[in-house]
Amino acid sequence: MVNANMRSSSAFVRWRKGLNWRGAVAVASFILLWQLLVRFKVPGFETIPTLSDVFSTFWTKYMLSAKYWKAWAVSFERVGYGFVISQVLGIPIGLLLGTRQMFHDVMFSVIEILRPIPPLAWVPISILFWPTNEMSIVFITFIGAFFIIVINVHDGVRSIKKEHLWLARSLGASPWRIFQRIIIPSVIPSIAVGMTLGIAVTWNVVIAAEMIASDTGLGRLTWEGYVSNTPAVVILGMISIGLAGYLSTKLVDYAEKKMMPWRKA
């Protein structure tokens, strides 16, 4: 049995089994439909480029352009700063909210008032406040992920099993040890949820902020495509943003797996 299985599960067979052919057909149909709608100039599609137009634009003008790759780097940098700062500040604040009643009483109403304000509503005040445009974009990105992580960590602390805390006390752990070794690991899954939601929001926010207040980045690239009437660049920008978001999500997923070795699939 072992022998037969070993032989049949060659790399090719495994690849073919792992392939989601329904998904592949759907993607191919989507591209074909897109191509046809543009070719036959269906109303609304007159100015839309086909995927092949987009690809040839990328191939001839952008693949080797420093400006294009700079846009990637700049956007990633903004997302990176905004995201990391939001976690570094948000996780301790969430922990304090959950563990210190005094801090909760003072801060929670302030947070609840500021939280519903959409990140983009912070754009004007941010530009007025921060000395450089770069700082204001990072700040807006930070706002996008900050409240999410705070709320998730706060909620994580509140839903710690009381049995865990009781047991740790029974077994001789000091309050500081309980914080370090029981509260922190209990909250890690909530931190992970906050990170997953946060990274998605930071990309949403950074692209919009770039379109409004910057002359670099993938958001700006997409907007320039529109302004300069080169729709292929718009689509290229969109695809690039999609890829960038996907890559960041994968990165965060990887970090989360490392944070929670006890959670195996």
Binding site: W166, S170, L171, G172, P185, K264
Partner: protein, 292 residues
């Protein structure tokens, strides 16, 4: 099953009982929740004497205050009246703030293994926190306990989520035993299990009990389980919880599954069942919820 045969069970006599500690005196204990407001009396004037090494089962309907009593014993909750002594030393009283300790470890109904620690790390947690053992000594003892309790040392490096709920509960009992507690407090540990797993867990628990002979306070609402496992069955009334009946179980040890159909067992069950069902019916009619 093989392990079960190997364990020699020495019949308990007065001399061995006196040698080990773990005598609990629960004296006229009451617990009122929210005394200034709603004033829910969870436990009322409850007195129980538990001998060292005795296996006591507390049976009662949902919401009879059995878990409250256990939490007070464990030092997680205050009491409103009365006192509890452990080997003659005050453990809990009205004036004392509750103080949990490694001498009374609880195994909880829904399980409380730390999911981010491996089985071995969970078991070693107590002695390492209390600094009573070195890392190496704790590991050796933990592995030895695991091995003796049905060969669980094979899962030492697994995380709790990778184990069945029965295994998790056994690991949890081992984690408690690792601290050499005077009293082991079990809060309906097999509640959510099907009857086959439950029977297996009973066998494992009896094995562990015969190995360590700690005082055990076992909370359950399953009367048959209580009679089968315990030396003494205490029946509690529905809220306010108080002792309704104390019954010594004369079944010999080792306890074996076939005893559950013996004449003696059925006779004991008949004696207790009436009282328990009466209380259960009262609780049901009042719509009590567990831990309400």
């Amino acid at each position: 099953m093989a392990l079960f045969d190997k364990i020699e069970v020495t019949p308990r006599d007065a001399a061995t009982s006196a040698a080990i500690d773990g005598a609990l005196s629960i004296r006229r204990v009451s617990k009122v929740y929210d005394p200034d407001g709603a004033g829910v009396v969870a436990v009322q004037d409850c007195s129980v004497e538990i001998a060292p090494g005795e296996f006591v089962a507390i049976v009662g309907p949902s919401g009879c205050g059995k878990s409250t009593l256990l939490n007070v014993l464990a030092g997680f909750d205050t009491l409103t009246a009365g006192e509890i002594l452990l080997d003659g030393n005050p453990l809990a009283s009205v004036s004392r703030p509750p103080q949990p300790g490694p001498d009374r470890v609880v195994v909880f109904q829904h399980g409380a293994l730390f999911p981010w620690k491996t089985v071995l790390e969970n078991i070693m947690y107590g002695p390492l926190r209390q600094k009573t053992m070195t890392n190496a000594a704790a590991e050796e003892k933990a592995l030895d306990l695991l091995r003796r309790c049905g060969g669980l040392d094979t899962v030492a490096s697994s995380y709790p989520a990778q184990l069945s709920s029965g295994m998790q509960r056994r690991v949890e009992i081992i984690r408690a035993l690792m601290n050499e507690p005077k009293v082991l407090l079990l809060d309906e540990p097999f509640r959510a299990m099907d009857s086959v797993s439950k029977a297996t867990m009973h066998r494992h628990l009896l094995e562990m009990y015969s190995l360590c002979r700690k005082t055990i306070v076992f909370i359950t609402h399953d009367l048959e389980e209580a009679i089968y496992l315990a030396d003494t069955v205490i029946v509690m009334t529905t809220r306010p919880g108080t002792v309704k009946k104390v019954l010594k179980i004369s079944l010999p040890r080792p306890r074996l599954p076939q005893m559950m159909s013996s004449h003696e067992y059925l006779e004991i069950k008949r004696q207790v069942a009436e009282g328990v069902h009466e209380e259960a019916k009262k609780a049901f009619e009042r719509g009590e919820r567990e831990h309400a």
